[in-house]
């Protein structure tokens, strides 16, 4: 969780100085990314949203190469081609995000079907925002997962807003109830509690590998920044609302639980410091990265090089 927070803080600090894109901030939502990913095992597949870098960090993407990727360097995870929304690192189970809200959900069902057909005890997880549940493919993907009993978990990060449009305005009924409509397991969870998220997802994962099908998880959370960095979010959110969520900061909440259960505060502080050091090192490295070259742009449209550059 600290790593997600520190990565973003460092990204904002460095990228605003260096004129690089910041993308979609996730501060405030870390407990969902971290809680979900902590419940997964190596081999599981994760698909993210447009608000992607938190998930990428939480699943364990290489921070140096991720920072290089966000800087558009040819040394980045995807040679600088993908940026925040499409960066992927499949060797750690990270299959990337999407620019199209909910556009990642069908692919998650395919990764889950692949797991099932190959008899492997692995699952797929797809994150989606509250805005995504109103897309047609949400229903298509949940339906496919349900009828074929696929090992997939759909995690709805309900941060209350699709850009400036509130969930209350745009979404009929309760999101969690949509699971019942498809006859699948579903759970609403406090998205500020990494422990609760973790427990619900661990249980959903066990169901999935047992062959008992998909789960829909609705995690209620909040983003501290706007839809994008620089978005004037005070134009659509009240100060009181903002402060009420700040009071339930997911990192502070977990820290409190840890201290109450006897974890040394110094050890907790060290986690934050180490996270910050790693992120600073990653963005210092990104700054010094090789710029993308023409080959980084032109090659590899196809696997068959004879089809490229035509």
């Amino acid at each position: 969780m600290s790593l997600c927070r520190e990565f973003e803080t460092t990204l904002v600090a460095y990228a605003s100085k260096d004129g690089q894109p910041i993308g979609h901030p996730q501060a405030g939502q870390e407990a969902v990314a971290a809680g979900v990913c902590a419940a997964l095992v190596p081999g599981d597949r994760v698909l993210s949203t447009h608000r992607a870098h938190g998930h990428a960090v939480a699943i364990g993407c290489d921070l140096d190469r991720l920072a290089l990727e966000l800087y558009g360097s040819g040394e980045g995870t995807c040679r600088g081609r993908a940026g925040e929304m499409y960066v992927s690192q499949p060797d750690v189970g990270y299959f990337g995000g999407t620019q199209i809200v909910a556009g990642n959900l069908p692919m998650a069902t395919g990764l889950a079907l692949a797991a099932k057909l190959s008899g492997r005890d692995r699952i797929a997880v797809a994150f989606v925002g509250d805005g995504g549940v109103n897309q047609g493919v949400f229903g298509e993907a949940v339906n496919l997962a349900a009828i074929w009993s696929l090992p997939v978990i759909f995690v709805v990060e309900n941060n209350g807003y699709a850009q400036t449009t509130s969930t209350e305005y745009a979404t009929a009924g309760r999101i969690v109830d949509r699971g019942a409509a498809y006859g699948i397991s579903s759970a609403a969870v406090d998205g500020q509690s990494a422990l609760q998220v973790h427990d619900v997802v661990r249980e959903a994962r066990q169901r999935a590998v047992r062959g008992d099908g998909p789960t829909l998880v609705e995690a209620r959370t909040y983003r501290y920044e706007g839809h994008y960095y620089g978005d004037q979010h005070r134009r659509y959110r009240t100060q009181a609302e903002f402060e009420s969520w700040l009071a339930r900061d997911p990192i502070s909440l977990l820290r409190r639980v840890a201290v109450e259960s006897g974890v040394d505060e110094g050890a907790l502080a060290a986690i934050t410091t180490q996270a910050r050091d790693k992120c600073v090192a990653a963005f210092e490295r990104a700054r010094a990265g090789r710029e993308a070259m023409l080959a980084d742009l032109l090659d590899g449209v196809f696997t068959d090089p004879s089809l490229d550059r035509r």
């Binding site: 499409y86 069908p106 079907l113 692949a114 298509e140 339906n143 004879s306 035509r310």
Partner: protein, 333 residues
């Protein structure tokens, strides 16, 4: 080698590849028919649009021949997930008109994943559809688009598509469904990215795309009667198309007529003319031209017979256009 109908050649290709490679998975609406009703004795009730997938479920079972709900975006995106994890899905999108429903999955996900992941992920997917509205799909780099012109190329391109590690969209023409050609019984493939010259000529190149190749051959025979020697080329791969082969032909003949059943605006035929104008410029004797339907939002198949006859180009139209750009109706120029 045996005389084989187009639909059967497609069916044979699938059967051969499914037997050869366990990672090939068939997906689509009613590709078998009556899914889940084996208990009632219903298996393979439909066999896919026009029998393309007939019998496959009996040989390969319901795990590999999967009837889907009507959700083109859902199951095409599902195919992307299968492909990212080592499977080779062959996906039936019944008609080209249904493709826009799954546009995001096709153009943002399947077309871009290999490139954007810098090769970490591959999308060995074959999408098969009936229809001629291919130009819009050809627009997106990362998709290989092909249009077979007969049963021989239908089987060979299907085999090549399934074995390719790149996503391939096959545009089949309903007009060719029951056409027959000599098709090898065994293993062969028609290479992706290559056009072929079917008939040599010296005065004009007629370039066919899918079903229009037969029109070009017919027109060439008629032109010969009138004293014009037409070369006929068959594009086969629409994107990325074979610029060198078409260029070589046009540099020899000096004239190009592209015959296309797709809508004309921003279309493949116009794109070919533009490219060839550059690559054959110093040998051109006339401006490259297209023969296409008029720019109206009609569909070839759902119009009345009278309207369909007016809508689609025919061999007479190709002859008239070729004769016009050749400047005279008789003799070598």
């Amino acid at each position: 080698m045996s005389r084989t109908k187009y639909w059967k050649a497609c069916n044979d290709a699938l059967r051969q590849e499914m037997a050869r490679d366990r990672s090939v998975i068939v997906l689509g609406e009613d590709v078998a028919g009556a899914p889940g009703r084996a208990g009632d004795g219903f298996v393979d009730a439909w066999g896919g649009p026009f029998g393309i997938t007939r019998g496959l479920i009996k040989e390969f079972g319901p795990e590999r021949v999967r009837d889907t709900p009507i959700s083109e975006a859902g199951f095409l995106g599902l195919a992307a997930g299968l492909a990212a994890d080592g499977y080779r899905p062959w996906v039936d999108i019944m008609f080209t008109e249904l493709m826009p429903v799954a546009w995001d999955q096709l153009t943002n996900r399947i077309a871009r994943t290999h490139y954007l992941s810098a090769g970490q992920l591959q999308m060995p997917i074959t999408v098969k559809t009936f229809g001629e509205c291919y130009s819009a799909v050809c627009h997106f780099p990362g998709l290989v688009c092909v249009a077979p012109s007969d049963a021989y190329t239908a089987k060979g391109l299907t085999v090549a598509a399934i074995r390719s590690d790149d996503p391939v969209v096959i545009f089949d023409s309903l007009k060719l469904l029951r056409s027959q050609a000599e098709v090898p019984d065994g293993d062969y493939l028609v290479e992706l990215g290559r056009a072929r010259v079917l008939r040599a000529g010296t005065d004009v190149t007629l370039l066919g795309i899918g079903a229009t190749t037969a029109l070009c051959l017919q027109a060439a025979a008629e032109l010969e009667q009138a004293g014009l020697s037409a070369e006929v080329a068959d594009l086969l791969t629409l994107a990325p198309w074979d610029v060198p082969t078409v260029t070589e032909s046009v540099r020899k003949t000096g004239r190009l007529v592209v015959v296309d059943f797709d809508h004309p605006s921003c279309g493949l035929a116009t794109d070919i003319c533009a490219r060839i104008t550059r690559t054959a410029w110093d040998r051109l004797l006339a401006a490259p031209v297209t023969v296409t339907p008029p720019p109206v939002p009609a569909m070839g198949m759902d119009a009345s017979a009278a309207m369909a006859a007016m809508y689609l180009p025919d061999a007479a139209g190709v002859v008239a256009t070729a004769t016009k750009i050749a400047g005279t109706g008789s003799g070598r120029l």
